[in-house]
Amino acid sequence: MQMHSGELEIARLSAFAEQNEDVADFQVVEFLNIDGAQMSFAGGSLADSIQDNGLAVQGEKFDYLLDLDGNVITVSDGEIYVPIAYIQDGTFKVGDGIAIVGKAFTIAGPFRDSQMQPLLSSSKRFLVSANDFAALKQSGSVEYLIEFRLKDLSMLGAFETDYVSAGLPANGPTITYPLFRMLNAFSDGMLAALILLVSVLVTGIAFLCIRFTLLAKIEEDYREIGVMKAIGLRVSDIKKIYLTKYAAIAAAGSLLGYALSFAFRGMLLENIRLYMGESENSSIAMLLGVVSVLLVFLAIMAYVNGVLKHFQKISPAEAIRFGVSQEKSAGARHFRLDRIRLIGTNVFLGIKDVLARTKLYATMLAVLVISAFIIIVPQNLHNTISSKDFITYLGIGDSDIRIDIQQTDHIAEKAAEIAAAMSNDGDISKYAVLTTKMFRVRMDDGTEERIKVELGDHLVFPLTYSEGRAPSAENEIALSVTNANEMGKKVGDVISVIIAGQAQNLTVCGIYSDITNGGKTAKAVFSDDSADIMWSVVSGELAEPSLTDAKIMEYTDRFEYAKVSDIDEYIVQTFGSTIDSVGKASYAAIAVALTTAALVTLLFMRMLVARDRYSIAVMKAFGFTNSDISTQYIARSIFVLMIGVVLGTLLANTLGKALAGAAIASFGASAFEFTVNPWFAYLLAPLMMACVVLAATYFGTLDAGQIKISENIKE
């Protein structure tokens, strides 16, 4: 989709589309930009909206605007359909009235927009009838959406080159499929990736739980298993007894899960249905559900079968004689009782037990590591995207005010006027003027492409570069990820840019992610008076951020031709709902992780007490009290917990960062640094883990006090 403001020769475009073999379909849709203040309703107006709001009519050939049932909407005069996001955030309700430049409309419903739906997309269209559109056409500025559907998406690059080479209208962003994907990925994709990550980890914990339960059961039945082996039953026979039982439990669990998925389907899929629509293959989805449940069942049974291989290791003589497994102690030989001074006998015994039976505690450790990971990674992600710096990953500098000057004349003079105002404004601590111009680039194969280059000082409000750095010399250029990929350039490569008719070699000094202006941008500092200015952006930072609102109002009144935005407000309006959703998901992840850690610790401690009843009886016989025993178990827990939290935190900040980075890189932004809240990551999260694990240890070891010496002292 090529956005264009200015004159348009439809005939030339049609001719191009007809002649180009890659084009499957072509249409031009008008988008009528309306000043937000002219769109008023009972609760106010869209004056504060950072979006470019405007009117559009239904597409003729494709890019249809659909209702929630997926039908192409036919609008009656006086009716207006609004973007789903505005219904979701409560700005509008169906049935409300809205006045656009004084003309009254009734909101007939929300619609799905395949092009502008994500909040990160900077424009939002409202659907009206052709008559109403015509009536209001003089009340705003018309922008054209020149839309092409290609036969083969892989021909996109070649098609873009053809379009630019043909010198067709291009005064506006070019938006291609990869950018649509990136915009959607940054909003809903991030949440989906987060939920997927937590789900995979929780599934891992679930398998560890199955292992726990099975080992505990085997421990409980140790003597009986020994007897069965002793009287000649094969391992496969004994396994069958257990497998039958666990098959019944797994089948019941799988069926219950399947049934619950139906009960919660509506709630969980509501948002997806709202934004993406109903799946056309609901019967296949049902079948896939059955297949998935079957796969889960089979995976559990395969895993249970694997764990039951433990039977082979059980010696019948040992099992009958001792009733418990006689695992060999190992390690920590130099950790001696007579040399302890600081920690006390009970803590010594606790730590010694963990060091001696590392294999046993490895499972609990793994659960705690995963739990810490589940708690920290989503929180870090939430902190990162909540941080004001995050926009620097999206191609927007970290300023307080952003003033866009576009679709007007004398842009250079206007930008200079605003810059001069900022320069004389004591409240503005720093500012920068960035001007975007279109230049031709000579490719390695001799062809030419056009790129938009933003000129100015890029060090004032720098972006986060995925590779390299911002341009600082005249012969340097930084490319957006999309541009660099399409041009096949990396940092250090040279590109030939035609400046004032002369080819000049510029070295690629940096690559950055960008979701603005179609995602295909470049940044440089060279001076040029030859090319036309497409638009200018003046960014400013306030000495006192609390003045932002007043300053926005002042500049809005003073420079009516410019669009003045509050960057914080921009984040709230475009990314707020994603931040909010990721925030909710991260709190849910904390709840899941803590519950899991508590349950597994409880289960593990009960298993340990059952397994250690002999040792407990021995210690009690020799004068250890119940609180001594309890202290020993708590020492074990704390020791494992400390290792688990340290490992989990380390992994969260290394592997977690890499995973989140990989996910975000797949959306289009490759550089990624976690913004860690140290209070949460290094204090609150470990503290929460400690509380639940200690409580679970306490309750899990209550039975130790009930162990009778006389009944358990004989091995």
Partner: protein
């Protein structure tokens, strides 16, 4: 002699309803300071249950057990634990050692609970006891690297670490060959000569014949008492003591 342990009409039963079985059925007995007492009786007669009841390791249903004048049933769980740790020693049929600890740490375990700042002194004492019981040099070994007889001696060292007033033995030689069993009895006799009271449960006439007093338990009651006097290996004929005890046992109708 002063009674160290006194039991008055103690009872203990297991099971419920028709399954209920009186394991201790009104036993009254005194164990005096400095005595070496053996408890004998057929399997299931209540020997071990009596030992656990007299040591406070198990509660009784009725009756009273006093240790050094203190009513055990009036003591709280922690007070009973303290008593076992500081005034009693235990040697069981199996060595009852902790697998995760080496031999020295097993010996030190109960005494280190109160004396973590005296590690070096306690280790010295443990080594002295190991020397005395003939297991010097095994300090750093895992318990899997020692024989049954050696492990039983480890158990005795552990029991002696707290300088107990009494050592309870539940079949301390039951799992040993005759050579090891003789060696254990020699050590116990030596400990007894040093003034420690010993009460042990045994099936073995050869073991009981080396004690000064034999109690015979049958169906939860003391069916008889035999008093051969303290054994002195330089003076007494062990064979004759064994025969005499065997003859007495045949008079016990069970």
């Amino acid at each position: 002699m002063k009674a160290l342990i006194t039991s008055e009409n103690i009872t203990k039963s297991f099971g419920l309803g028709a399954e209920k079985r009186n394991v201790l059925d009104g036993i009254s007995v005194d164990i005096h300071q400095g005595e070496f007492v053996a408890v004998m009786g057929p399997s299931g007669s209540g020997k071990s249950t009596l030992l656990y009841a007299l040591s406070g390791m198990d509660s009784v249903d009725s009756g009273k057990v006093s240790f050094d004048g203190a009513d055990l049933s009036a003591l709280k769980e922690n007070e009973l634990a303290d008593l076992r740790r500081t005034q009693m020693g235990f040697v069981f049929q199996q060595p009852t050692l902790l697998r995760n600890l080496n031999i020295l740490d097993n010996i030190l375990l109960p005494s280190m609970r109160d004396g973590r700042n005296n590690g070096a002194r306690l280790a010295e004492k443990a080594e002295m006891l190991m020397e005395k019981t003939g297991i010097a040099g095994l300090e750093m070994r895992d318990i899997t690297q020692a024989s049954g007889g050696q492990l039983q001696r480890v158990g005795i060292c552990r029991a002696l670490m707290g300088d107990p007033k009494i050592i309870f033995g539940d079949e301390p030689t039951g799992a040993l060959n005759s050579t090891s069993a003789n060696e254990i009895m020699r050590i116990l006799a030596e400990i007894h000569r040093e003034g420690v009271t010993i009460l042990l449960v045994t099936h073995d006439v050869k073991v009981a014949a080396k004690t000064g007093r034999v109690l015979f338990i049958l169906d939860g009651k003391i069916a008889g008492e035999y008093l051969p006097g303290v054994y002195d290996e330089t003076r007494d004929n062990l064979k004759a003591r064994e025969e005499s005890l065997t003859n007495w046992l045949t008079t016990m109708k069970f």
